[in-house]
Symmetry: C2
Subunit: 273 residues, 2 copies
């Protein structure tokens, strides 16, 4: 299959262009795409460089390139649109209709989304991240009062990445607590966790997958054996059911999806925007 | 000004709908929006609940609500479109034209973007995050050979959040090293850093802002004093200039923007997608 070059062009970070563009591309799993990211196209010189790159691809490739753009400056957008037949103007397509619905002119200012941040949001996000880092892996179990969410699960079930994502993306104070043998033997929650029962959420994982992940971390020992992984996972799941803790299998889903599911299930909200 | 309710509706996490929707809303800074997120609208019952919520808002609010949707199922999208005049179909708007350009039918499968992930990508991301966590704040300076990027800066200049974002979003192994008095006195790079000079990137910050952040962490002491912050920041910037290390002022920009700027300046790429 012919490889198609895909350009993501933005006047700031390119996160918006990439997010929607990639989301659209995944609907064409049989196609073969080669991505080129061109962020910070916020002046005529940068626009000219982008145009030159797109024109080179149009000349060299067997199929014409695609362009996903989020440009707030009309003149720059027009330069890009003029150089290629397949430009998807992700931003401009909606800004006109939105102006009409709202009956307000848009500010046409660049990169407000990921640009300058107000101090309250900045502090909230940083506090969430600092809290999350210092309450990873059962550290400071006495500080759980302040948590927005406490994740439980066996070692390497995905707690830490999920907590960090919850902090960075949703500005939530996300603690986590590793479940271990003694918790299963007792088949009750440790007292520190019992006190914050309404913030608990479990992560589980397919034992075979867990064993593979643990093997990669430490080559040998009982820790990564399939038998041990099976025992721990079944102990954790039994505890979640006995204690009525909602839980999710993290095996085949992305960190984004685990985090969004937890936010929905626990009726949490982004702490600030 | 009348408050406008804004719905973000998606069949999966809602990240795409939120990213583009928020990006569009920031172009209307004078308007007053109230956000409602409805993720995982992937079945008729969930669609009916979403419709009921939108209809309630249409009835109760002074101005009709806006809806940003990314739904891959046409029937569900039609249900939403039928209930409200101001639906912005962020996904469907482009999928038809894309099918035409590519001359392929789209798969119409839900949530591929943030859904199931392949093992290589998953491992790469997790390895990047594990590396980043264990090379935070000058830990394990002998492991810098493996780093994709090494951030330098004074304490609380934004190194840790940026590194975590680089790991989670760009799958990069991002180490960081705190610059302190002895580095400024010597006004040369410590030997461990000199060895990986081409991976170094500096963060700086306005001393007043740094002092405020440090005050919030520890109420007293010289550490947070403006004089101390000024001394450290000017020492760090002098070192960046002497050693020809590219650097960025993190004071007023978001973590997303700092990360995207570093990726661009250092000619890095997302390690996998």
């Amino acid at each position: 299959m012919t490889k198609r070059r895909v350009f993501f062009i933005s006047d700031r970070t390119g996160i918006t262009a990439e997010t929607l563009g990639e989301s659209l591309l995944t609907q064409f799993p049989s196609a073969d795409f080669e991505r080129v990211h061109i962020p910070f196209v916020d002046n005529p010189a940068a626009a000219a460089r982008a145009v030159a790159e797109i024109e080179r691809a149009s000349r060299d490739d067997d199929a014409p390139p695609l362009v996903f753009s989020t440009l707030t400056d009309d003149a720059i957008q027009n330069t890009i649109t003029a150089c290629c037949p397949n430009v998807f103007d992700l931003f401009g397509t909606f800004i006109g209709p939105l102006e009409e619905v709202l009956d307000i002119k848009s500010s046409h200012s660049m990169g407000r989304m990921h640009g300058i941040v107000d101090t309250t949001t900045y502090d909230r996000r940083l506090n969430a991240l600092n809290y999350t880092l210092s309450h990873d892996d059962g550290l400071k179990p006495n500080g759980l009062d302040e948590a927005d969410i406490v994740l439980l699960g066996v070692s390497r079930s995905g707690k830490t990445p999920t907590c960090l994502y919850l902090a960075l993306h949703y500005y939530l104070k996300a603690a986590n607590y590793p479940l271990a043998e003694e918790d299963f033997d007792r088949s009750r929650l440790p007292p520190t966790l019992a006190k914050c029962r309404d913030k608990l959420y479990g992560l589980t994982i397919v034992p075979e997958h867990l064993s593979r992940i643990r093997h990669e971390r430490r080559a040998s020992g009982n820790y990564a054996s399939l038998a041990q992984c099976r025992r721990e996972v079944s102990g954790a799941e039994a505890l979640f059911r006995t204690e009525n803790i909602p839980y999710l299998d993290s095996t085949t889903i992305s960190i984004e999806e685990i985090a969004a599911t937890i936010v929905r299930d626990m009726k949490l909200h982004r702490a600030a925007h």
